[in-house]
Subunit: 450 residues, 2 copies
Amino acid sequence: MNERNRVVIIGGGFGGLWAAKALANKPVEVALIDRKNHHVFQPLLYQVATAVLSPGEIASPIRRILHHAKNIEVILGEAVDFDKENNAVRLDDGTEVPFDYLIVAAGARHAYFGRDEWETWAPGLKTLEDAVEIRRRVLLAFELAERKAALSGVQDELTFAVVGAGPTGVELAGAIAGIARQALNKDFKAIDTSKARVVLFEGSDRVLGTFASDLSESAKQQLEELGVEVRLNSFVTEIEPGKLKVGEEWFECDVVLWATGVAASPLGSRLGVETDRAGRVKVEPDLSIAGHPNIFVIGDMVHLLQENGEPVPGVSPAAMQMGSATSENILAEIKGRPRKNFVYVDKGSMATIGRSRAIAQVFGMKFRGFVAWLMWLFLHVVFLIGFRNRLFVLMGWFWAYLTRERSARLITGDANELRDALMFMEGEEAVKLLEKLAAKETSAGPKEPA
Amino acid sequence: MNERNRVVIIGGGFGGLWAAKALANKPVEVALIDRKNHHVFQPLLYQVATAVLSPGEIASPIRRILHHAKNIEVILGEAVDFDKENNAVRLDDGTEVPFDYLIVAAGARHAYFGRDEWETWAPGLKTLEDAVEIRRRVLLAFELAERKAALSGVQDELTFAVVGAGPTGVELAGAIAGIARQALNKDFKAIDTSKARVVLFEGSDRVLGTFASDLSESAKQQLEELGVEVRLNSFVTEIEPGKLKVGEEWFECDVVLWATGVAASPLGSRLGVETDRAGRVKVEPDLSIAGHPNIFVIGDMVHLLQENGEPVPGVSPAAMQMGSATSENILAEIKGRPRKNFVYVDKGSMATIGRSRAIAQVFGMKFRGFVAWLMWLFLHVVFLIGFRNRLFVLMGWFWAYLTRERSARLITGDANELRDALMFMEGEEAVKLLEKLAAKETSAGPKEPA
């Protein structure tokens, strides 16, 4: 029996998973290495962050997804470096994993324009942990406002700021406005949750800037119908606990969420080839790196220009296509056939804004509102990985649609969070204020938002 | 309009929630204070800990459960002390919440026999966070064994130890044995998960000691059929990372779970009345405390002898009965009627051991095996709070029963966990060992467990 080629895949996101699927039960030995044991269906992360879905509803254990593939071994571990000359990946505990072919698909995170300290005050949304943390902050803000109002009769203004009006920022802003106006309002008694402000800050002159400009305009209108304040040409230059700065103006906000900028996985820089400003690896037309045709980089980590001069976008369909194409190239080469250069096929794009609201451009046509939302819904449910998850998500949505209820609305975490949150959001003033209020020195009714 | 009496309830577990339900839309003003925003259906916590259910499937936001009660305000906060003379509860931020009647229902945790440092190595199971942490440890142990076996070909022995054979310990041991032998085995390729050892240590001479002795014997047999090693008369005297001591014998184990001992909430000691060794508050026959007839303590925090001289057991039916009875006494007193003393009604008890396995004693009869399990299943599903949760749990179980699959099998947490876990479980030796193994100095096949 011939020694079979060993393919190592780093990352179990869309790119890595699609690469693995294309190699399933083929004549190669595959090891997929990921820091987490689960694949996350990222397009629905914002629904976990806004308490519509539970983490388990949008994630599956990677080894469960690939359990039918007898030639694929899933390994929990973090790749930290490469030995390109000896064809090995180094894990964080020093283990070296040898390969004949390597596919690096470690993804990207949000970038903070060199101000990484902002992440503490303004978390981004890339992992399940991020989503749970955002859910915690959003729900906790309502809980604290309720507590204060219940004990003092005063309703403070409650402001949620979202920075960046790309797909994630638009989804988050729309969803928070949605739960504040509908799902939460019947459960909170001392405050009127629908008075919560949701402000979406965007540095450029339109939302969802990768779409046609009339769709951008429609998206902005749909956001405003949901109650979101959209501030264009508003580049955030400073973030501090409880506030952010645009130009010379400071905005007070209870929760800040970050949804802009791209920083590719730092693994890319360990490959020793040219990267762009976002840390994306410049690859050959077949997605391999210069001088090492057996090492490929795919997905959000890649900087590759298409024939039209535009870069391949950092979206999940591109990652999936790269994953499949790379695996097919490897299988072809093993059979002695030539590789093909990667060509990205743009099948259209869509962005959801809120319940019954979305925009889409597909087949050269444009859609907006309810029809676009139905298309988005259909596509995402069909794509969801794993039968059980698909069924449950559909049912969960159906139920949420009928009742506008939220079952995933749990705040989990440390018991000291409440105190920490108070300190964090408003400084020590908050505690003093609460004490003062509890002493009933104030007795005004609920305040109108400014 | 008369000033209505203000009832403050501390704790949103079974006791506090049932007290609140009995006061819903009655002529009192109620504030329910809890550190968490959600009620947890504790009898199913072990299913979250063993990746059968997701956290959202056994928990509901407390304000959701009570949203129909117009007179009940739910407040997120931690009660830390009482001002009994001025009838106020002090929260951790210094806020004082005034009351006319107070119901303290802050529950209990596991006790470590004065060795609180053991909790780090041997977590207990009382909260959703505990359950997620246990799930993480159990799944991580399998992942690490798989990783080592995949990279080296050597399968290490994998041992799960559960300390204490009360209901929680038996459920955990049975469920871990179950997933190791069924759900996980088709997904892990380098190791045979069914070879994992599950050892249940019990200090007394039988499992589930509150049941009739022949049912205890049946439970032990059912556990052994599932592959659990039951060690009776085995009192654990020492726990260190990766091992525990019984008598003079040390046992190596990858994961230790703690399921014995009771320590009532430390809030009980702030009431200034007598407590028992477990910190439970000694109450008057009507569940109020001596000298303060408007302050009640209920649930697992209470030490109260029944007429037969036995204490009321720390089980959820007792907590629910106490909650309802206390609220009824308060409502009666407001109407000028006398209070009634609390009488616990034992409606029987049951304990589940694993899929299709349980014991039950109800209506003076004893049941074991599949029939007892069906009874357990029916009762717990009916009791589950909230329509959506009930439906989903039923469907999830049905699906798991048909497919023996686990959808909740996610390890969430920090990316450094893997390293931490390695260090924790086997010390720095583990890293060296992995390095050595990776260098392929060993090439033996999978090892048989001893």
